[in-house]
């Protein structure tokens, strides 16, 4: 009750603080008058009387301050006062405030952006999906090696049946699909999912329904589909009566049973799915065979949803036990096969895994940038705090507590941080789709790599903001609270270059900045060198003048004979066109996601060590493939149309294979056994790269498609651009069959570049931020040096008056700045040696301690530091001694 009363009093006091202040003034005035009069009556002179009255009273200012604190709402009032004062201070040095806000905005914004990417891509990659924290990716392992194997449907069903620690399992198999829209055929992406998919994810279609349990079973028995929101809007113009209509998918009419909600893109990181079909439709979308009854056919990528409270380790233990039992029960198909769970951010079968190292680097980089920015801001504020020493001293002298000053300074810091945080959030908002822009686009695939600015990211960013406020605000605040009243009031001691304890804090901040920038520069240089190394590496085939595309025959329902006929006819048509030099089909285009066939081989006269299996990868290619790709044949010949089903089996090996299995002798005419079929070697192809520029030379061979598996990839050698060729191809293919369409047409250069996209993103990021860090460090160095110089004008003037020349002064100031730089470089070099090992996985052709990279970083840093120190040094050297000494 009393407390409420006090609060009310204070509230009214706060509201009427102007009149109360006047009242108090009058009251105190009155008091002092009476006391003085009393003293005079006691016999003092009027001056004595007044002094005595004042002494009796104590500090008028202190009394007013306590009075004020007591009569209002002190917390709010003081805060308000501090805030207003903070803004006034900001306005007084707008340049410095702007610089501080800019530094912090960059630091906080970059962090928030990367947090949002990590949240949106790695941690919670699937918008609208419930319980992502309990969701784990699931993939098969082969002899303990993870990542290359998937799961079979019978295994999946057994998992559902036997596991108790899981809510459910879902199948999600991405596929490219030919979509027939009227007369046109178009490629897009969709997914084969288990019927429980939408229910398990907690995603409710906005129209119609999800799949029903029965739709998992029966060979191609349930041609139903749920379409994506975007597809519904774009292709069907948001038709409200869409349910029940049919859509041709892979040449088969599917009934649209549902429309997914807006913002749901499926469960494949990075790509937006356009539609989903139930597992029973597997054969139609993942040809050529029906796999639902085949335990050996591993095609399922999927997710497990753990029961609440189950740890990943427990889940893995149970799933491993089930896999062990399956190995025992079905040795023929399951020997050596395990199942492994992955956290979503390590998912092996989508873009999460590929982006993980990049985002890791990004995180390290932005944290460094934030630290540098904080160091810089701290430095700037220290300089300002030093300039405000007098103000602080006076405030202390008139009765402000030290705690009060600390609060004031931290409030000022918080104002700066909050403004910067708002700026940073705006920056993160603009940057949230940046990652998708850095990665190469693919036709038929809608990239979605959105950052998520959800409450977790906001909270984390707020935390970062708070920590950085403390980081940069505390040093000046502590320094201010250490002010020694007496000596500070007496005089501003004249500065001396160097030899000054107060400068130690600022100097060490600069050393840290230089060190961090150096680390970033080394990282950027290493990645840039790797990228250049990769780009200068020839893949062994032509990257210019060769285009690659594909035609999905199987999903259009073609059988082997139809494919062969079509391919021959198309090649003939294309060869007859002007501007096209040659064209060839193959099963796998180099540097694509698709995997090569591999087989155990035997070679005449080559003894295999009994414990070693000779597994070699190969590609099935059409006639003229090597010439089209620009891979030279060093001996013998390549395949022609004559190498068909009825002709003797032939193969072309690469140089590494010739060297290893024929020990340098010409293998042409020799024999090679693949899958228990002997074939005659008719040629040797020059070495080339097959999957990535970073791979080492390895044995590889080619077999004719006609004598092995048919392929759907099409390579075209032409000086024309991909857009022109895409039109020509579409036209020519349409003439043969209106239901077929070529997939995306790209140059081989583009194909190769896509494999280095992650490196390029990393280089871009490190380059931009490394440069930024360099700039910030230089600003920091410049600030410290100019401040030191401005504080020691008198000493410099004295030295000049005593005969020190310009070069001497230049040298003196420069040497101090360069000493700081040297310290930073030494620290940075040590840190770099320790840290660059972390990116060794992204390096190509350079060691993590590459002297060139270190040298470049060293030179760049030294030059920036030199410029940053020279400007103040030059100013110092031009000091007018007379002026300096007089002031």
């Amino acid at each position: 009750m009393t407390r409420l009363r006090v609060l009310l009093c204070r509230l009214t006091g706060w509201l009427r603080k102007g009149s109360l202040e006047r009242d108090l003034d009058e009251e105190l005035h009155f008091h002092l008058q009476l006391e003085t009069a009393e003293n005079v009556r006691k016999g003092m002179t009027s001056a004595q009387a007044r002094t005595s009255a004042l002494r009796r009273f104590g500090g008028v200012a202190q009394v007013k301050e306590t009075y004020r604190e007591a009569h209002g709402l002190p917390a709010i009032q003081l805060l308000w006062q501090d805030v207003r004062f903070g803004f006034r201070m900001m306005r007084r040095s707008p340049g410095l405030s702007l610089l501080v806000i800019l530094c912090l905005t960059l630091g906080i914004g970059a962090n928030a952006a990367v947090f949002s990417w990590i949240e949106g891509i790695l941690l919670r990659p699937f918008p609208l999906v419930a319980h992502q924290e309990r969701m784990m990716a699931m993939a098969g392992t082969n002899r303990g090696v993870a990542g290359l194997d998937d799961l079979s449907w019978p295994d999946f069903v057994d998992l559902q049946k036997n596991c108790t620690l899981f809510d459910t399992f879902i199948v999600d198999r991405i596929m490219g699909v030919t979509l027939a829209i009227g007369e046109r055929a178009q490629r897009t992406t969709g997914s084969v999912v288990s019927a429980n998919y939408f229910r398990a994810l907690g995603v409710r279609p906005v129209l119609g329904r999800g799949f029903e349990p029965g739709e998992d079973f029966g060979r191609n028995a349930h041609p139903v589909t749920v379409i994506g929101y975007r597809m519904w809007q774009d292709r069907f113009r948001g038709d409200p009566g869409i349910i029940g209509k049919t859509q041709m998918l892979n040449g088969m009419p599917h009934t649209i049973v549902g429309v997914a909600p807006e913002g749901f893109y499926g469960t494949f990181v990075g790509w937006a799915m356009q539609f989903w079909v139930p597992t029973s439709m597997q054969e139609r979308f993942d040809p050529p065979t029906y796999k639902l009854e085949d335990r050996g056919a591993r095609w399922i990528e999927g997710f497990a949803i753990l029961k609440p409270g189950v740890t990943p380790a427990q889940a893995q233990a149970e799933i491993s036990a089930v896999a062990k039992r399956l190995e025992v029960d079905y040795p023929a198909t399951n020997r050596g096969c395990g199942i492994q769970l992955f956290p979503l951010w390590k998912t092996p079968f989508n873009n999460a895994g590929a982006l993980l190292p990049t985002l890791g680097i990004a995180l390290a980089v932005v944290v460094s940038v934030l630290l540098i920015a904080c160091a810089n801001v701290s430095n700037l504020l220290l300089v300002r705090a030093f300039g405000r020493r007098h103000e602080m001293t006076v405030r202390l002298a008139v009765g402000a507590g030290r705690g009060r000053l600390l609060k004031q300074l931290l409030t000022e810091g918080t104002i700066l941080a909050i403004i910067s945080a708002i700026g940073g959030m705006a920056m993160a908002h603009w940057c949230r789709n940046l990652l998708a822009l850095l990665l190469p686009a693919r036709a038929g695939v809608t990239m979605t790599l959105p950052g998520e600015l959800d409450w977790r990211v906001l909270a984390l960013s707020a935390g970062v903001c708070l920590i950085s406020t403390l980081l940069f605000g505390l040093a000046p605040a502590i320094q201010a609270s250490k002010i020694d009243l007496v000596s500070s009031l007496k005089a501003d001691s004249a500065g001396v270059v160097g030899g000054r304890r107060r400068a130690a804090a600022r100097s060490s901040l600069v050393v840290v900045q230089v060190a961090l920038s150096f680390v970033l520069l080394v990282g950027a240089a290493l990645l840039l060198e790797s990228l250049r190394g990769m780009q200068n590496t020839s893949p062994g085939f032509s990257t210019r003048g060769v285009l690659t595309t594909g035609i999905d025959f199987r999903s259009a329902g073609y059988n082997a004979q139809r494919i062969k006929t079509f391919q021959d006819e198309l090649i003939d048509r294309l060869q007859g066109l002007g501007g096209l030099q040659s064209a060839a089909f193959a099963r796998t285009t180099p540097f694509s996601y698709g995997s090569y066939s591999s087989a155990e081989i035997a070679v005449d006269g080559y003894e295999t060590a009994p414990d070693r299996q000779l597994t070699v990868e190969y590609n099935e290619v059409g006639p003229g493939y090597l010439a089209t790709m620009g891979i030279p044949v060093v001996s013998g010949r390549e395949f022609t149309r004559a190498d068909n089903e009825t002709a003797p089996l032939v193969a072309v090996v690469n140089e590494a294979m010739a060297a290893q299995y024929w020990r340098g002798q010409d293998p042409v005419g020799g024999r090679l056994q693949v899958k228990r079929r002997w074939m005659r070697v008719v040629g040797v192809a020059k070495m080339s790269k097959y999957r990535s520029l970073r791979e080492t030379p390895k044995p590889f061979f080619y077999v004719p498609m006609r004598q092995s598996a048919l392929g759907q990839a099409l390579e075209v050698r032409t000086p024309l651009g991909p857009e022109t060729i895409a039109k020509v191809l579409a036209r020519e293919i349409h003439k043969l069959d209106a239901n077929l369409a070529p997939s995306e047409v790209i140059t081989m250069q583009e194909q190769v570049d896509r494999t280095t996209a992650v490196q390029r993103v990393a280089v871009t990021m490190l380059g931009v931020f490394g440069g930024l860090a360099l700039l910030l460090a230089a600003i920091g160095l410049y600030g410290v040096m100019s401040y030191t110089v401005s504080q020691s004008t008198r000493e410099l003037g004295l030295r000049m008056a005593l005969g020190a020349g310009v070069p001497h002064l230049l040298r003196q100031v420069m040497s101090q700045g360069m000493a700081l730089t040297a310290g930073g470089l030494a620290l940075g070099a040590v840190a770099s040696v320790a840290l660059t090992r972390l990116i060794v996985g992204m390096l190509y052709g350079v060691t993590p301690r590459d002297p060139l990279a270190f040298g470049v970083a060293f030179v760049a840093m030294t030059m920036a530091a030199g410029i940053a120190c020279f400007l103040p040094a030059w100013r110092a050297a031009r000091t007018d001694p007379v002026r300096a000494l007089r002031d």
Binding site: C9, L24, E26, F30, Q33, F57, G59, H71
Partner: protein
């Protein structure tokens, strides 16, 4: 070691004991009726026989707090020499509080007295 309170006072004047100022103000107003700030200060010094070092300024925040507690009220009026002055008077709640505090101080000084005599025996 002897209790600090047992030592002869080093200073001739003693500081206002924490919390006792409120009691003194209330007692003064109760005895003398409405007073302005200076009057209260003089009275306290008189009663203490000028043995109390009252920083007169500290009186004003204390008066404000007492007002906020509702134990005293203030009103602008005219002083003996016809100047505008703020007069403080005790309220009903203030009297109740005064009684409570009087009892409290009684008890404390009783306790202290007992310590005093004990310390005297020991030394």
């Amino acid at each position: 070691m002897a209790h600090p309170l047992a030592h002869p006072m080093a200073k001739e004047k003693t500081d206002v004991l924490h919390g006792s100022l409120a009691f003194m103000v209330l007692r003064t107003l109760d005895t003398l009726g409405p007073q302005h700030g200076w009057g209260i200060a003089r009275r306290i010094e008189q009663i203490s026989g000028d043995a109390l070092e009252l920083n007169q300024g500290t009186l004003y925040p204390a008066l404000l707090r007492l007002q906020q507690m509702g134990w005293i009220a203030s009103k602008w009026g005219s002083s003996e020499n016809h100047r505008r002055a703020k007069f403080y008077s005790i309220t009903r709640a203030g009297r109740k509080q005064l009684a409570a505090e009087a009892e409290n101080w009684e008890r404390i000084s009783g306790i202290l007295a007992r310590f005093r005599s004990q310390a005297g025996e020991a030394s």
